[in-house]
Amino acid sequence: MLELIMKILIYGTVVSGIWALTASGFSLIFGIARILNFAHGTFFVLSAYMSIVLIKNLGLNIFISYAIAVLFVGVLGVVVYKVMMSPIRHHEVMVIIVTLAFALLVEQVLLLLFGEHGRSVPSFVSGFTEIGGVLITYKRIVVFILAIAVIFLLEFFINRTRTGKMITAASQDIEAAMMVGMDVERLFVITMFVSAILAGFAGLLFAQVFAASPIFAVKSLIYAFAIVILGGLGSVRGSIIASFIVGYLITASITFLGARWAEFVMLVTIIGILVFRPTGLFGVEE
């Protein structure tokens, strides 16, 4: 039993780090632009598949491939924003529908190209160690460290850099931000770029630990929803903390109940939060 709990703690921590990246990106663009980006999960899967193609088909170095893949989804994020969100931003219903359609489109194309089975990625480190009686690969440890490093970078970006502060300001009051002369549209583009990069990076790490699979275009989105609702819509710090709660919850439910219960547990979590604390842990009442 103790071993089982250790396992949930350790594995859960790694997964949580990955979901923290995904959810904070989702939260970031919602916070500033009030856009629900249902295409967020596509960045997650596309970077993973992109890296697979670059490594396996073009024979590129793994780290160069990762850099290209992340940059690619970052640019894609900006394109998605410019083409699918910005022109119809005031048609909130349409933004949701169009981005969801895009996510499903990408999922279908990936299914047709790569098949429904998960694709593994060459791992960047091998070997394993033992923590508290639980075997854990170095890969997972590195993934966790990288995830945490990126989260700290994000915190630094938002709280310490000028652009990050502008993003925070615009998130708090967009009209006031415009009035003091901020180029809000530019901020949206930057945020979208950062948001896509975070999801892309999460996708790469996820593919390292597990495997890349087209269904994560939608599944990763569902996890992001649960986390963001728990953390409070629009709060990046809330999302990061909520990721750990959700990460442990998922790992525990998969360990005790089986993988097919994960979505069900997510839904119950979301409903539970909405019943008892609708604004989430750190949500701001509007």
């Binding site: 349409m94 529908i97 969801l100 047709l112 609702i229 219960w261």
Partner: protein, 336 residues
């Protein structure tokens, strides 16, 4: 002498009705069958329009309510599915007549809609969209987890003797009847004072609240109505096709409903009727002929539908129907 636009509409509806009543006399059996399915699909699209187009709440899990209606009637008709499971007591329930059990399908969907609505619709903003987006995945998982009862991926058959009618033509007329009745009831609702309240909430929720509309109550009412008809459509389809299975209520169907609504124009009721009809036939008849290209490009019928949806959403977010009807209005005004 020129007719008023309203009269012309009535004439058009009557004319279309006469055509649809006569259609089976001239069309091949297989196509009659397909048209009947299209009518049931239209109910799903129009009921989706009630909550999304008229009330402005983005429901991405409409197919779940279709599915709840479907499995409710299927299990009521085949209670032996419960034998040997933890719910074996339910297997002793006597089977109701088919029409009653279809009605139960609608009621069950409406009930689930009520529970989810009460929780999510009291909050403003995006919670409803997020929760309903999760529902389809959970629903499908549910069917897999208890595959003893729900038949898992395969689903199960309700048996030929529980078909809605023995032949395609009989099924066609029942589907037509169900569609006309459902659309008529929904038309009456959106034209009533309740419908105006729905639209007030859609246009400005805070304003609606401040003029004394109980927004939560009417949002939930709208959602329950929408779910009820989705359930009816799902239940009717089970007795139309004699089988029930998760592929009928999957995410692709959701996207087809959305696409039909968007093409028809959200919040126009008759637009979605036309959109649902066209999209259903497009997907199940015309696109099948196109499938040769999937050998060359990573494209299938779903990919094409998604692309159409994205392009339409970007270029005509108001829907084609609205463009057409604006055009018609101008045309008639000039004439008179």
């Amino acid at each position: 002498m020129t007719m008023k636009l309203r009269d012309k509409r009535v004439v058009a509806v009557v004319f279309l009705l006469i055509i649809s009543i006569l259609a089976p006399l001239f069309l091949p059996d297989a196509f009659v069958y397909l048209l009947g399915m299209a009518y049931l699909f239209v109910i799903m699209v129009v009921s989706w329009d009630i909550i999304v187009g008229y009330t402005g709440q983005v429901n991405l899990g409409h197919t779940v309510f279709v599915g709840i209606g479907a499995y409710t009637t299927a299990l009521l008709q085949v209670p032996s599915r419960f034998e040997g499971t933890f719910l074996h007591l339910l297997s002793t329930i006597p089977q109701p007549p088919i029409y009653i059990s279809i009605l139960f399908g609608g009621v069950a969907a409406a009930f689930v809609g009520f529970v989810i609505g009460i929780i999510t619709l009291r909050l403003k903003g995006y919670y409803f969209a997020l929760v309903t987006a999760v529902l389809p995945l959970v629903f499908i998982q549910f069917l897999y987890v208890w595959s003893d009862i729900f038949g898992g991926e395969e689903g199960f058959s309700v048996g030929l003797e529980r078909a809605i009618a023995p032949g395609s033509v009989g099924k066609y007329y029942i589907a037509l009847f169900l569609m006309v009745i459902s659309v008529f009831i929904m038309y009456v609702i959106v034209r009533s004072s309740v419908g105006y309240k729905f639209r007030a909430i859609r246009d400005d929720e805070i304003l609606a609240e401040s003029v004394g509309i109980d927004t939560v109550k009417f949002k939930v009412l709208s959602f329950v109505t929408s779910s009820f008809f989705a359930g009816i459509a799902g239940a009717a389809i089970v007795h139309y096709r004699i089988t029930v299975g998760p592929t009928l209520f999957d995410i692709p169907l959701m996207l087809m409903i959305i696409l039909s609504g968007v093409i028809g124009g959200l919040g126009t009721l008759f637009g979605p009727v036309f959109g649902g009809f066209v999209i259903y036939l497009l997907k199940n008849w015309w696109l099948k002929g196109l499938m040769g290209i999937s050998e060359v490009l990573p494209v299938n019928d779903e990919v094409i539908l998604y692309i159409i949806l994205i392009v339409l959403g970007l270029t005509a977010p108001q829907g084609i129907w609205r463009y057409a009807s604006n055009y018609m209005k101008k045309y008639f005004e000039k004439e008179s």
